[in-house]
Symmetry: C2
Subunit: 328 residues, 2 copies
């Protein structure tokens, strides 16, 4: 049975989710693809920390253990922040590895360069997990692009903001107490600034822009507003007239073919497809030339949804590149 | 430039949509796949009827012009009804052609046999257009099955019924006058019985069952109820307590691993993901082991949505089977 060797960079919630699913689904993956998938190395910051016991793999704190290992076919990256993630993935591509990332901050900025580099080296880049968590928006847009044309994408791309807006409306929470609850529930980062000021949704929108339109607007031209100035009084006033605040990221091609984008709170009515999206769900509406309008709704985050998005990327790479992977 | 030769069986709305998109997207398909796609034959009932002028292809009323042509790689089928569609497609598979169908009535019943036959002959079967029109539910479920497990699928699978229910609720139409309007608007068949008595939604549910669970429940065990006994008074009563009737097809594996399914009108509240699905839209909710719950909403029918679903199937076949197709 041929084997695919993988490394995981980062072993937080997402990295551990990838590892667990690969173990749990080992037999099924073997049957459906004809390959065993073996995790050989896991990059961690602190090797001394007590962790999940793993069999057949090693924890390492030295990236060279991974980049210098010619056996490795695929690198999963679940680190936070631009660097060193970008450098590690560039180096992995250069070595001929396929890469699969969940790092939206890094990928919003460096995605275009990584995609170009990967094309040149004839390896694949999986980035489903960077955007809208478990909602398979990257795969769906990729598929729609075959034989159709994307005109506009709008969506609720930050589950934390949506959770806060839901609590403010449904239960009269202040912004501050809803944010605390999100943090206690594990939905918000220790530093939630990027979630609530719109930056996180903006990054995901830029990733979708690269995919759907092959380019991004100038970042400075995009107005980015968060939900951090909304008060529960605003939310109440909206409810009185049957409207709801949603934090919406929106990008479209104008008549001149120029990309226009906005990110911010929007008041919407009951007929709008985003009206009913509550809690930590994400939702994306894609308008195309032939299909019309397609809406996807699902969990915006979580160990298993994000991990399973990365495994789906792996399995697509296996299917597309069987010939490339066989030599191992 | 290598060429893929295709035939189209049936030239109603859907067949013509396929032809038009293939012409309009000819250059783009060439660039993205490296293949030109040439329609060589179109099967029609009546050759004498005046039709769209076509270049490079011939109208024929003899299926042997297509089955006997060894050049043809892919057969699109957009006929209505079980036969002769099933026989034609079986014969096409036997000749080594990939097939792409929009025929839900035929595929609900004969899909399992066609899929097995195609596997044996190492050709592909595209059936995205059989279920939920432009909503890419077949592709999405196929992708989810790689590395995840489907637990339940429920959805609004008949756009005509949903249009009628919307008109009854929103504008106080009687069932009969809403149905007439659907027919005038081109949303219902000349014989709308299968749409409004639940049969059409049932068939699509069985297609999803084959895909998601690898099997179907016994057809006789599935209660199938339509919307044809609902009165506008029922709809009004529901609205008074903020509920709405939706025609929902539902299938799930019970604790014993047995498939359970129901098709019929259901009263749902404002928090339900199907509450806001109005008009001719279709919606499908897929519950999985890892991802959680994913909802897709989009146009349930139409020349371009259905045609573009079939073109997407073609382009996936081209990508997966490049080696098989190259010899032409």
């Amino acid at each position: 049975m041929p084997s695919i060797k993988v490394a995981i960079l980062g072993f937080g919630t997402v990295g551990e989710g990838v590892y667990r699913i690969l173990q749990e689904k080992r037999e099924e993956i073997k049957i459906s693809t004809g390959f065993t998938v073996d995790v050989v190395s896991i990059l961690v910051k602190d090797k001394a920390k007590e962790r999940l016991p793993i069999t057949g793999a090693n924890y390492t704190d030295d990236i060279q253990d991974i980049l210098g290992n010619p056996e490795i076919d695929v690198v999963f990256e679940a680190i936070v922040g631009e660097e060193p993630a970008y450098t590690y993935l560039s180096d992995a591509i250069e070595k001929g590895c396929h890469i699969i990332t969940a790092n939206k901050k890094m990928f919003a900025k460096h995605g275009p360069a990584l995609l170009k580099h990967a094309e040149f080296r004839d390896v694949k880049v999986g980035f489903e997990a960077t955007t809208a968590g478990g909602v398979p928006i990257i795969r769906t847009v990729s598929n729609l692009l075959i034989g159709d044309r994307i005109k506009r994408i709008q969506g609720i791309l930050n589950g934390t903001s949506n959770f806060i807006l839901t609590k403010m409306r449904d239960e009269g929470f202040s912004f501050k107490s809803a944010l605390s609850l999100a943090q206690q529930s594990g939905y918000a980062e220790a530093d939630p600034a990027d979630d609530v000021n719109g930056t996180d949704a903006f990054r995901k929108l830029m990733i979708l822009s690269t995919l759907a339109f092959g380019r991004q607007p100038d970042w400075e031209d995009v107005p980015v507003v968060g939900i951090d100035h909304l008060e529960s009084a605003d939310s109440n006033d909206a409810s009185k007239v049957d409207l709801r605040y949603r934090h919406v990221a929106d990008i479209w091609e104008d008549e001149k073919g120029k990309l226009q984008a906005t990110v911010g709170p929007v008041l919407i009515g009951a007929d709008h497809p985003l009206f009913n999206i509550d809690g930590v769900d994400n939702a994306v509406i894609v308008d195309t030339e032939y299909l019309g309008s397609l809406t996807l709704v699902g969990p915006g985050a979580g160990m298993y949804p994000t991990g399973s998005a990365m495994i789906a990327d792996l399995l697509h790479i296996i299917r597309q590149h069987e010939a490339v992977l066989v030599p191992n």
